[in-house]
């Protein structure tokens, strides 16, 4: 096999707002052979997307390729004129973005957009391009391949749109396809379908690919070779099997280790549920959006008759994919969205449906931590103000007393005290999430609602946050209602897990069942869809979404 891509000592420079030059890619070299899929893996900011974009001779606004060469199909893309680059883009190298929804123009039909590249490069007649598009739709296992192209982007699902973006990239018979985290935004059950379609098409046509991802298990399924990146430099490179089983570099090992979080070492607390009042008791909760219908039910019901019990000092996980109603449930418990019917009681006392009517004690006892630390921390405040406010509000702490407590809180979440005077924009994602947690702890709550708290974080950082949550629980006797779409996270921290599907709780799993996979077909699909580090997993995966729809 010959080398299709050869990157030599690539350097990319970024100019900051203040005019400082920062090298973000520090001399990266690697090759991609024809028909080979190479994966770039690393956390956010490691430069993996920047390298992938340089294969098209493109650098994001404010960045430029400052050194090295990018040989693609015998030509140096880094030194090429813009017109020559435009001639290669789409024809020789094509790109599949993370968010297909943002890549499609909502005002045009899908087919028109899919065949557009072929027409721009004048590679085939319009009729031929359309015929090829339909053939690709079929190869990518899209439903109704003949007519799906006549729909608009909003009329297909996220997973389908991602595959349609792949069809758009493949229509010109490119030699190289760049996948930029194409399944990261998808639910696990959808991810499996998309990955399968990608893999089948790439293998069948012998197209080379560069697959950018932060998820080792996903990469294990599609890549022939893995390149591990950190801080703009290659840490380790090797065949997929070698990286997975014989990783040498400490950072790679850390990535692998984050994949097997230690299960909750919680000694099973012996409680008699009938005798003791549970900490949180949710019964027959119905929550929805929109106006009320004639029968007093909301227009759109997001949570249907859900009942939950959470004992003190224990953790309950809520698992489900997007749209399953798990976040809505948390919002109803917090009092952000008053339920249409049903009851929420806390330590035996009934909670008012909306937060505005709850007592200060109730508000203090239940704290919520959101997924995106970026929007959860006021960018105009410094950290000590963010933490100081709940201290003053709930406990009346001021001045030096407040200072001492802020330092304690920062210690608790393992942040250096020097961060007190910084603003959120000056912290990393993981640090922000810790501040977010510290603010919840400042109230001295009994229950923390964690809404996808680790989903926006890198694997290694997320694992550290989970460890922190466990440690805080041991020290402070907290309980968590832990909402996540990620099974391994839930398994790592929860005693029990409720599985939500289409607004209903389909099953409640005990720890023993969490490993074996549960009874309900949806639970089984959800569990089996989580990619495993084994490269053979995808090929042996058995698809049974039909069984779920039937149930």
């Amino acid at each position: 096999m010959t080398e299709l891509v050869s990157i030599r000592d690539l350097k990319v420079e970024a100019t900051s707002d203040a005019g400082r030059r920062i090298e973000i890619i520090k001399g990266v070299s690697f090759e991609v052979k024809e028909g080979e899929i190479v994966s770039l893996i690393g956390e956010s900011g490691s430069g993996k997307s920047t390298i992938a974009l340089s294969l098209m001779g493109y650098a994001r606004t404010g960045c430029r390729i400052s050194g090295g060469e990018v040989m693609l199909d015998g030509r140096n893309v880094a030194r090429m004129g813009e017109r020559a680059r435009a001639g290669m883009r789409g024809a020789v190298v094509s790109y599949i973005p993370q968010s297909a929804a943002a890549a499609f123009n909502p005002a045009h039909r899908i087919l028109t957009q899919v065949v557009e590249t072929a027409r721009i490069h004048d590679l085939m007649s319009e009729a031929a391009a359309k015929a090829r598009a339909i053939e690709l739709f079929r190869a990518l296992a899209l439903p109704e391949p003949e007519t799906i192209g006549f729909r608009y982007p909003h009329q297909v699902s996220g997973g389908q749109l991602q595959r349609l973006a792949a069809a758009m990239a493949l229509i010109t018979h490119p030699k190289l396809v760049i996948f930029d985290e194409p399944t990261t935004a998808l639910d696990v059950t959808t991810q499996v379908e998309v990955l399968r379609a990608f893999k089948a098409v790439m293998r069948e046509r012998g197209i080379a690919g560069v697959y950018v991802s932060h998820d080792l298990a996903v990469v294990a399924q599609v890549a022939d070779r893995i390149i591990v990146l950190k801080d703009g430099a290659v840490q380790e490179e090797g065949a997929t099997g070698q990286i997975l089983h014989h990783a040498r570099h400490p950072y790679t090992r850390e990535l692998l280790a984050a994949f097997h979080p230690s299960p909750r070492a919680g000694e099973p607390i012996e409680t008699n549920p009938a005798a003791e009042t549970p900490l949180l008791d949710v019964s027959d909760l119905v929550v929805g959006y929109g106006g009320l219908k004639a029968d007093g039910m909301p227009q759109i019901t997001a949570v249907k008759n859900v009942s939950l019990r959470l004992e003190k000092g224990r953790n309950l996980g809520i698992i489900g994919e997007s749209g399953s109603g798990k976040s809505t449930l948390a919002r109803a418990v917090a009092g952000l969205l008053p339920p249409a019917s049903g009851k929420v009681s806390f330590e035996g006392r009934m909670l008012a449906p909306s937060a505005g009517k709850r007592s200060r004690q109730d508000l203090r006892d239940i704290q919520i931590v959101f997924q995106y630390a970026d929007t959860a921390l006021n960018p105009a405040h410094i950290i000590s103000d963010i933490l100081g406010r709940p201290l003053k509000f709930f406990h009346g702490l001021r001045g030096s007393e407040q200072d001492v407590r802020i330092n304690q809180l920062l210690d608790m979440v393992k942040l250096p005290r020097a961060l007190r005077d910084r603003r959120p924009a000056e912290l990393s994602g993981g640090q922000k999430q810790r501040v977010n947690l510290a603010r919840a702890l400042a109230a001295e709550p009994k229950l923390i609602l964690c809404d996808e708290v680790t989903s926006a974080l890198d694997t290694v950082v997320a694992a550290a946050v989970i460890d922190l949550l466990k440690e805080l629980q041991r020290e402070l006797g907290l309980s968590y209602l832990f909402i996540s779409h990620d099974l391994s996270t839930v398994r790592a921290i929860c005693d029990e897990a409720a599985v939500m599907y289409c607004g209903e709780k389909v099953e409640q799993l005990t720890p023993a069942k969490m490993d074996s996979g549960g009874q309900h077909p949806y639970t089984r699909l959800l569990f089996s869809s989580v990619p495993k580090l084994d490269p053979r997993w995808l090929d042996s995966f058995e698809h049974d979404r039909e069984a779920v729809s039937a149930a």
Partner: protein
């Protein structure tokens, strides 16, 4: 590392603005002649060593009258814009935080107000209420409150949807705290820009009112009134009519270019 970079046009604008501010404050100390005094037999006289900007239709010193006019124009406009923006931003944040019926009612009310043409509204209001200075300030403020309200409300609605505001609400914080600590700091930049632009609109509206004879009344004279009283000098190309117009133009353009090139506080986040 902190870095400031002030572009040249912004610097020019800023210098002109500061100069007018100094003039407005220190006018009585700067004027060579008393504003009401007839100092020359020649009317619509040209610029001379003695009368830098010439003389007006009664033979008064135009330079002194423009300096004193700056006080009136800038003072009334500043008072009106402050009232309009404080009312608009306050109500805008209130509407965003309370939402529901209150928001709808207030928004429709202001929509109705802003559907009346500015100048027509001002003319009718002056005809009804007279043109004393407090009345002028109140009318100008009322005319420009709906725009400020719309602007502030749309910014505040976006901030209100942020998780940090939700967290503060869940804590049970008061409206006043939410508005002051959570929302205001995050909309302040655009609000200040809007303040500047609105100031320009008010200067122009006040000048046109005075030009029509319905604004500032003699013996006081703002720049619009100076243009009006000397309009007879236009066929002679008298500085008495041209220079007050230039004063209006220089102030409004200076505010505009200063805002367009506001020095952005730049912070190097990688350092």
């Amino acid at each position: 590392m902190f870095g400031f970079r002030v572009p040249l046009p912004s610097l020019i604008g800023l210098v002109v603005l500061l100069a007018w501010a100094v003039v407005a404050i220190a006018a009585p100390l700067l004027v060579p002649y008393s504003v009401g005094e007839i100092v020359d037999f020649d009317i619509f006289g040209p610029a001379t060593d003695q009368f830098w900007f010439g003389t007006d239709y009664l033979g008064r010193d135009v330079f002194s009258r423009i300096l004193m006019g700056a006080r009136v124009t800038i003072g009334i406009s500043l008072a009106a814009v402050t009232l309009a923006v404080v009312a608009g931003v306050g109500l805008g944040m209130l509407a965003a935080l309370l939402g529901g019926k209150f928001d709808s009612l207030l928004s429709r009310f202001f929509d109705a107000l802003s559907s009346i043409p500015n100048k027509l509204f001002a003319l009718v209001a002056v005809a009804g209420g007279g043109s004393s200075i407090p009345m002028l300030i109140a009318i100008l403020a009322l005319i420009y409150t709906p725009g400020s309200y719309r602007f502030a409300r749309s910014l505040a609605v976006n901030i209100n949807a942020m998780d940090y505001v939700i967290v503060a609400r869940l804590r049970g914080e008061s409206f006043f705290y939410l508005a002051r600590a959570e929302i205001l700091p995050n909309i302040l930049g655009p609000v200040l820009t809007d303040f500047g632009l609105r100031f320009v609109f008010i200067v122009l509206l006040l000048s046109s009112l005075s030009f029509l004879g319905l604004g500032v009344q003699p013996p006081l004279a703002d720049w619009g009134a100076l243009v009006r009283e000397n309009i007879g000098g236009l066929p002679f190309g008298a500085p008495a009519v041209i220079l007050p117009s230039l004063a209006i133009a220089s102030l409004t353009i200076a505010v505009n270019i200063t805002i367009d090139n506001l020095p952005r506080k730049i912070r190097d986040r990688s350092a």
